[in-house]
């Protein structure tokens, strides 16, 4: 069972806000999903190594791969940013 505090904490870590009136339904939903995935505890995994990747063998990055990809155009990159100044990304002030 996840508490409302748990869900609020997770939202904070995720940089998301949950409206106070929705918190309860989000928590209920969250609990239902967690309860479902908790079924994994039925599986005995002692002595089993985890895998985090689908490929059986990691192939070495070959020398010919160590080439620089063609560069993107600076102005096209900056054009897709919400706010820029002198070809730099602008963010709200972080230092007083």
């Amino acid at each position: 069972m996840t508490t409302l505090e748990d869900v609020a904490k997770i939202a904070e870590l995720s940089r998301l806000d949950i409206e106070p009136e929705k918190l309860e339904s989000v928590a209920a939903n969250f609990s239902e999903i967690l309860e479902y995935i908790n079924r994994l505890n039925q599986v005995d995994t002692s002595g089993v190594d985890p895998v985090y990747h689908a490929t059986a063998v990691f192939e070495d990055v070959k020398a010919e791969d160590r080439q620089d990809p063609p560069s993107m155009l600076l102005e096209e990159v900056m054009d897709s940013a919400p706010k820029t100044k002198e070809n730099q990304f602008r963010v709200p002030k972080v230092i007083e």
Partner: protein, 482 residues
């Protein structure tokens, strides 16, 4: 020439190269059909008619000069692209408000490959936001409708790509598949869809959802059309460190070959409760046909596949929560104007920019990766993933391919599952194991329900067994008279 929109890719390409028809005329025919019906289907998010016709002229010009020729795999052939694959200069939204006006400064490798092979890129197809969903109802813009019954969903997340092929808007399209997002909509729309082996097709320029599971793949009306598109998009890419170094293969070379002696595994667990009875009998009928062609059908056991959904819904959200951290209103996309400092800018941008399902998965992912829960969820899921993978590897010692249903139900109605996320997740019950193991999976039409809804048969095979899998699908197509 009649029925341009229905022609197999091979025939269409040959007519274009013989100058019986121009690429412009081909483009015009498909655009006309889109004009007629896409206001009802909503397969496309972005489509610029003028640009398509201009590009068609350029291809005609290249054909004239010999720069596009018989050697070009897709000379003049239209291809539609799922909107989570970046296209330089053309809006790429991922079905999300947060990228609602994003114009990428680069092309995905698959887009480069399509252009190199003379393809005509048509437009960008609707999808569930960041490919998270099984019905295309999670698109921030509008849902796509199933062309065979517009009250029903086309499946997802590549619903727009599947619906575009099924509507005859394009002969070919690209989708992406993280847990079934190509195969499930292919089954729902009555077309063929392939999720290639992890690493066969470059992921460079595919907006990342679950990086260890994501794979781009083709949709078409037949196994042959899908094989042709796979020929164009597969191959090593130095820009994707997980891209395979295998030599390139011609996936059309082994089509319509004798399948006598092929060993096909079936998993009896998949035919028990939860499977629609009409799908069950249709898939069993297809198995009888394959047996009639000299295949042997062997029962196999994949004991850990029962836990595939649980494993997937830990690993995929965990990877998504990391991947989607990049959407913070700084480098691209939407930024909320409502903020007082950097922190509130991040929070408001993400809260206003992401939809419900995306937020849910980011939060589940954050939870399972958080200290105190990491071992219980993420580590545990990694171990069960290994067991699922070993299940498949063991099965492939006894059989060449595994066959079964693609989906537990026929296409459902719009709104039917949107209130219950868990029920929606179960739409992927037969498909997620493929992604966890990194093996290829294909959905091919194998019949219809009594009310005329399409049914898909899923084939799964060992890593890099696409050629044999496509052959099996091509034989089944001929035998079923598709």
């Amino acid at each position: 020439m009649k029925n341009i929109c229905e022609l197999p890719v091979r025939t269409l390409k040959s007519a274009i190269l013989k100058r019986e028809i121009s690429t412009r005329e081909v483009a015009h025919s498909f655009l006309e059909r889109i004009e007629e019906r896409d206001s009802e289907i909503h397969a496309f998010l972005t489509l610029d008619h003028e640009q398509v016709l201009d590009n068609a002229d350029k291809i005609d010009n290249q054909i004239e000069k010999g720069a596009v020729s018989d050697k070009s795999i897709l000379a003049g052939i239209p291809v539609a692209i799922k909107d989570n694959i970046v296209t330089r200069g053309t809006r790429t939204t991922c079905g999300s408000k947060i990228l609602g006006n994003y114009i990428p400064p680069y092309d995905a490798t698959v887009v480069d490959f399509l252009q190199r092979e003379g393809a005509l890129i048509l437009g960008k197809c609707n999808c569930d936001e960041f490919a998270m969903g099984s019905s295309t109802e999670n698109s921030a813009f509008f849902p796509t409708r199933n062309p065979l019954d517009t009250e029903r969903v086309p499946g997802g997340s590549s619903g727009g790509s599947a619906a575009a092929v099924a509507s005859g808007f394009t002969p070919l399209s690209l989708g992406s598949d993280t847990g079934g997002s190509i195969r499930q909509p292919a089954a729902f729309c009555g077309v063929t869809g392939l999720k290639p082996t992890y690493g066969l097709v470059s992921r460079y320029g595919l907006v990342a959802f679950g990086s260890s599971l994501d794979q781009i793949g083709p949709f078409g009306r037949s196994a042959e059309d899908v094989a042709i598109l796979l020929n164009a998009i597969s191959g090593h890419d130095p820009r994707d460190s997980t891209s395979s170094h295998r030599p390139e293969e011609d996936y059309t070379a082994r089509l319509q070959r004798d399948i006598k002696g092929t060993r096909i595994g079936i998993c009896p667990n998949w035919f028990t409760s939860g499977l629609d009875p009409e799908i069950s009998s249709s898939v069993k009928h297809a198995m009888e046909i394959l047996e009639g062609q000299g295949c042997s059908v062997i029962e196999i056991d994949l004991p850990y596949s029962d836990y595939a959904i649980e494993t997937y819904y830990i690993i995929a959200p965990a990877e998504a929560s990391s991947n989607l951290a990049r959407f913070d209103g700084v480098k691209y996309g939407f930024r909320s104007s409502d903020h007082t400092d950097l922190e509130s800018m991040y929070r408001n941008t993400r809260t206003q920019g992401f939809g419900e399902e995306v937020k849910r998965r980011i939060m589940i992912g954050t939870y399972v990766l958080s200290s105190g829960y990491y071992d219980a969820y993420f580590l545990k899921a990694g171990k069960v993933r290994n067991l699922i993978k070993q299940d498949y590897l063991k099965a492939f010692e006894k059989v060449d391919f595994i066959a079964g249903p693609t989906t537990p139900t026929p296409p459902f109605k719009l709104g039917e599952k949107t209130t219950n996320p868990l029920e929606m997740y179960l739409s992927d019950i037969y498909t997620v194991g493929t992604n966890l193991a990194g093996i290829p999976g294909l959905s091919t039409p194998c019949g219809k329900t009594s009310t005329g809804l399409p049914i898909g048969l899923q084939l799964q095979g060992p890593h890099f067994s696409e050629a044999g899998m496509l052959n099996l699908a091509s034989v089944l197509e001929s035998e079923l008279g598709n």
